[in-house]
Point group: C2
């Protein structure tokens, strides 16, 4: 037995050594205990899933389209679903994206894998936001790039820092989440978007614009995606995981025809196509119900949750913390007082059955051990108030310790 | 525009150059024309999909498990579904595989991608059957291995050739389809399995045992998978695409705990998890209906289709062709007379609105241009007889030509 296991190890590819273990994965295992109050996950609130409406859509699909929906299909995805996505970009932003430039993926996570496959040779340089989505770090790490980071600020991106990074090193990709970023909740303002694309236009770098949260805005206006400024050199990723339900496992990639063609070949090799049945069900749902009415429900609910969390941070925590006020999405980002690290706080919180994600998981380099990510979409108000009160008390007590 | 496209090309990774374009992909585009009679695809017969039963299962899931089924889930997959797969191996072969050693994937195609990610560094040596499944060639090519091939024969594998190949070159993986292979329809006999694992036990090479067709046998007895002989060094892939429906996009990987752990990390990075809703629906179907009764229907139907195709090959084609008599699965493999190439035949068949796949797509090296793959699962009897008669006539006429 031992011999065999040692033997297996010698067979593993180098890239296996480059994928960071997910600390969140370990935390989420704890979260499956029902006694635990979790601000850790990135789960949408399941009470907002349109269950009955999806059931009706499924019944229709089984009764009228069963043979097609259960059969193999084209790698690109169900054409009417791609048309729906195309039309929505048109209605929302006046953006003309033909369905042929839309590839259906297993959530936007798979799009990251396809992008890695298409673009990254070992040693290639990839620019990330600092901090960034852990799942992107994990996925892109498999392709063994060299990561660089650009600083975020209250308006979104530090443009001078972006210019410096691109000037210093030729980068193949810049991965960013301009709307209500995971983990920080930050959004790029319109001005920042304009300045950013002006900088990007001078470098031979693709923008990977990950936009899973763009539908979930609370305040301000709907801002045009970076794709609309630079369609040839932007790959725009969308997802139904936050707007409808993650269990469908459906997202999409928008890109220029050449990139879509390469991505389609890569996807065919990777899993032939995304779930066909779920594509039919989702399409039926989207064309027989108002997506906007559904999104309004989610926005109203999450806005209230966000407000509750903000008031908890204000009233239950010492004034020495700082935090973002997210205008959308599912996360708040807290920087702890200098004397407390996130992992120390997590250890004490766990004793009180409360968990969150230490921010250090979200950095490609030089993790900031003072930061924490708090999810507000998946805890009811009373529980949130109670648990945030306890958490704030722990932070206060840790600040007051004389050593 | 032109400048940008040239720019994009310079950004593509090396592996993009290594994935063969799928000729089948092009053929299947032709097949979408309803006037075309297709022996080309690998499609199960949609009239055998358990549509009503899956609808009932879906209704149950939406009404009783909607919130869980539509939420994110663990990368490993829905535990009760993994338990079902585990129990089935136990009932069928007495094989004890704990659910923890089963990872749910998007069809078995995704398992190939995960295996490539775990094992293959560029330049690593991988052994394939000659010929082999095109989708495996495509998928594994992305990881830039060196392919080697071992000959097949009527009993399955040429054991001497296997030994020679392994002796000459250390291989990381041997990818094989022991049951009713795609494309040849060949099955490894019990004796071949025993000899094969004896040989494999002396080399540090993992067996990738792809088994999408094992449920679809017509003649002979159910044979134990290679995994049962060498569980530590075999990765066994299964699929619900042929037994239930491909549109669900669900398959699985069985392997030792260390490989499953690595595969799970790779899958998490690739797409977080497989479709959760479809896993719940499938599990409900499997636990409220008899899979064996359903499989009997498919076997009886495909056996009849196989018999029809065999009689067509016997009576409509010149005696100078040779062909396999598949004991299961969905494909027959024909070797044409020396004076005809498969692509020439395809050109003439297309004029008569008939298509199939030339065998040359299924070789990693030195393609045999005399071979063709015929699918018999997806054409009704009358159409099959008519089209096979025409196809046989074309072959006969091509043999009779004096040049």
């Amino acid at each position: 037995m031992k011999t065999t296991i040692r033997t297996t190890e010698t067979l593993f590819a180098d890239r296996v050594l480059h994928v960071p273990q997910s600390f969140i994965r370990e935390i989420l295992k704890v979260a499956s205990n029902p006694d635990i109050i979790s601000f850790a996950g990135g789960l949408p609130n399941p009470s907002l899933f349109p269950i009955k409406e999806l059931e009706d859509a499924a019944t229709y699909v089984f009764q009228h389209q069963g043979m097609q929906a259960l059969q193999y299909t084209s790698t690109e995805g169900y054409y009417p679903l791609r048309e729906f996505i195309s039309q929505r970009y048109r209605q929302r932003y006046g953006l003309k994206i033909p369905p042929e430039q839309i590839l259906i993926t297993n959530g936007s996570q798979q799009a990251l894998d396809l992008i890695g496959k298409i673009f990254i040779n070992p040693g290639d340089h990839v620019l990330l936001e600092r901090p960034t989505y852990l799942g992107a770090l994990q996925c892109l790490s498999m392709f063994q790039p060299k990561f660089h980071e650009v600083e975020l600020n209250a308006d979104g991106l530090d443009i001078d820092n972006l210019e410096n990074k691109l000037w210093a090193q030729s980068m193949k990709l810049f991965y960013c989440i301009p709307n209500f970023q995971n983990p920080t909740g930050t959004r790029y303002t319109k001005e920042i978007r304009e300045k950013m694309v002006e900088v990007m236009s001078r470098y031979n770098t693709f923008i990977i614009e990950d936009d899973p949260y763009g539908d979930i805005f609370f305040d301000g206006e709907d801002l045009e995606p970076l794709y609309s400024y630079m369609p040839e050199k932007t790959i725009l990723l969308g997802s139904f995981s936050k707007s409808i339900a993650p269990g469908l496992r459906l997202g999409w990639m928008v890109a220029n025809p050449e990139v879509i063609q390469k991505a389609t070949i890569m996807k065919q090799a990777s899993d032939l196509h995304s779930g066909n049945l779920t594509q039919y069900i989702l399409h039926r749902f989207l064309t027989t119900h108002s997506l906007d009415a559904h999104l309004k429900k989610i926005r109203d609910n999450y806005r209230f949750q966000r407000d509750t969390m903000m008031s908890c941070l204000k009233y239950y925590f010492p004034a020495t913390i700082t935090y973002t006020i997210p205008q959308g999405g599912m996360f708040a980002w807290v920087t702890l007082p200098a004397e407390i690290t996130a992992r120390e706080l997590l250890a004490k919180a766990l004793e009180q059955q409360i968990i969150f994600v230490p921010g250090d998981s979200f950095y490609a380099t030089n993790p900031d051990s003072q930061t924490i990510r708090l999810n507000y979409s998946n805890v009811d108000e009373a529980t949130m108030r109670k648990a945030m009160n306890v958490l704030g008390g722990i932070v206060t007590s840790m600040c007051n310790q004389p050593y």
